[in-house]
């Protein structure tokens, strides 16, 4: 087999851009884990919900895809906060098996609700951005992917800045590192948990709006992204914010280069091979775990 340098260059560019989106999708999962030690197995399904919202606004409402941010982001914050309040908060501190069952259950419920309401159809939008490309020599850059990459990077940066530089962000980190000490400083830890879960979910609203121009929507779309997010979060070191961003790029590259050099059905193998290798040899992730 021979691979043209163009093909490799193309897959690297695509990989970086999609990796940025993977990073954004994973950062919320990592934040939630870092703060309250919960893995939300419905994370991918939250993204699915956001993608349906974005889809209907664009396809039926005629919205500009990026304007849907204004709806998807607060909607996902609310969805996250409500689900946290109603189902997850009561089982914080319970055995982790119960927590896993609960969030896996939530993911199944959301998937099946989507099936009932929207059928199993794969929905795609055609927006004015869908076909836009930039050519750099032999390499083409799809404009919606470029916008998604830039938007993801901006959102991740904004979230990082918020956690590092604002009083509430600092309180989120404090609650993650020592709940009792944070309470003694006057931090309402229950409120902080709600906020962190809401923010972790809201990032998925942003991601959905950034992706809707070039990615399909279906009831099972969350399975793929959920899985990617767990791989990225583990690879980056559970709860390690910057590690998660780098791991997102690595997985994006692995997926895209894998698709370029391996036959279709095998392309996904590379990502999970990498995941298993990390679990075996560096279970703390490439960059070590952290409390938010």
């Amino acid at each position: 087999m021979t691979f043209s340098p163009e093909l490799i260059a193309q897959s690297i560019i695509t990989g970086i851009m999609i990796g940025g989106v993977f990073a954004l999708i994973s950062v919320g999962l990592s934040l939630i884990w870092g703060v309250m030690r919960i893995i939300n197995f419905a994370h991918g399904e939250f993204l699915m919900v956001a993608m349906y919202i974005a889809y209907f606004l664009v396809a039926r409402g005629g919205w500009d895809p990026y304007a849907t941010l204004l709806v998807t982001t607060p909607a996902l914050f609310l969805l996250g906060a409500l689900i946290f309040r109603g189902t997850i908060r009561p089982i914080l501190g319970h055995p982790s098996m119960n927590q896993i069952m609960l969030t896996v259950g939530l993911s199944l419920i959301l998937q099946n609700l989507a099936l009932v309401f929207f059928k199993a159809d794969v929905l795609t939008t055609r927006t004015e951005y869908t076909r836009m490309i930039l050519s750099i020599g032999p390499v083409i850059i799809r404009v919606p992917q470029l916008i998604a990459f830039i938007g993801s990077a901006l959102t991740a940066f904004l979230l990082y800045w918020y956690l590092q530089r604002t009083d509430t962000g600092r309180a989120i980190r404090a609650a993650a590192q020592n709940k009792q000490a944070a309470t003694l400083m006057g931090v309402d830890v229950q409120r902080i948990y709600l906020l962190a879960f809401g923010i972790g979910s809201a990032t998925l609203g942003v991601a959905a709006s950034l992706m809707i121009s070039f990615y399909y929507t279906s009831p099972t779309v969350g399975l793929f992204f959920g899985l990617i997010a767990y791989v990225v979060v583990v690879l980056g070191g559970l709860g390690n914010f910057l590690g998660t961003l780098v791991a997102g790029l690595i997985i994006g590259l692995t997926e895209s280069v894998g698709a370029a050099i391996l036959p279709g059905s095998l392309s996904r193998v590379l990502t999970f091979a990498l995941f298993i290798l990390v679990l075996l040899f560096r279970p703390q992730g490439l960059f070590g775990g952290k409390r938010a």
């Binding site: 009083d167 600092r170 309180a171 404090a174 003694l184 400083m185 006057g186 931090v187």
Partner: protein, 234 residues
């Protein structure tokens, strides 16, 4: 200023405190001594709102604390320096101190208070960019005290601040308590280091198996037969 009235606390079926009553008047240092497992931490955590009493009431400046949660109690100006130096390990010294000034009233004066804390603990100023987990045990204790001062508290409760520190640091910790006392701070001091803590204190309570068995002027408690036998090995 602080008035604990017949407080009982249970962990499940186990009763850790039996109708404990204790007062801390404004501007005084009150010491609570007792052996390991007597219930000192339980009492302090109950005052801080981290545990709910099964009976009795706690008043701070006339306000009933028993219905408030921990973060609300902190907001009233009641600071606890918890057992075992509970720093925020992955934050810098500076960020730890900022967290002390989190609540609304403290935040208004935060930069001014920070200067005061840095003046009291120059070591913290030198290390302000360092991650808190990289500090020595003594420095971490200073950080936790400094962080509590950032709250601009009206009452400070120390839970065994000298535990596990080198003798020189133990001395430094007691010096800080003396300094704070000289500035008029109201302090509840929990210590196993009975002799030193009774020297600093105005008044003392002795806790045994969840009950107050003795109280009085600290000099009297220090000279009491029972205390001498139980804690001072005399």
């Amino acid at each position: 200023m602080l008035d604990v009235q017949q407080v009982s606390v249970h962990y499940g079926a186990f009763q850790a405190l039996h109708e404990v009553s204790l007062q801390v008047p404004a501007g005084k240092v009150v010491s609570l001594v007792g052996a390991n497992g007597a219930g000192k931490t339980t009492l302090i955590n109950t005052i801080s709102g981290l545990l709910k009493p099964s009976g009795g009431a706690i008043f701070f400046e006339g306000q009933d604390l028993t219905r408030l949660s921990g973060h609300q109690v902190a907001g009233l100006g009641l600071a606890q320096i918890p057992e075992g130096r509970k720093i925020f390990p992955e934050m810098t010294v500076y960020e730890n101190l900022l967290m002390g000034g989190y609540s609304a009233q403290a935040r208004k004066l935060r930069s001014q208070t920070l200067e005061e804390v840095y003046t009291l603990f120059p070591r913290l100023r030198d290390r302000h960019k360092q991650l808190a987990r990289t500090l020595s045990g003594g420095e971490q204790q200073m950080l936790v005290i400094g962080r509590a001062l950032m709250m601009r508290p009206k009452l400070m409760m120390f839970d065994e601040p000298s535990l596990g520190l080198a003798p020189l640091m133990v001395k430094a910790v007691f010096e800080v308590v003396v300094q704070l006392k000289a500035r008029g701070m109201t302090i509840l001091l929990v210590e196993q280091n009975v002799r030193q803590s009774l020297r600093v204190a105005d008044y003392a309570y002795v806790l045994e198996s969840g009950q107050i068995v003795l109280e009085g002027e600290s000099r009297a408690v220090l000279e009491n037969e029972h205390t001498r036998r139980a804690f001072l090995g005399l």
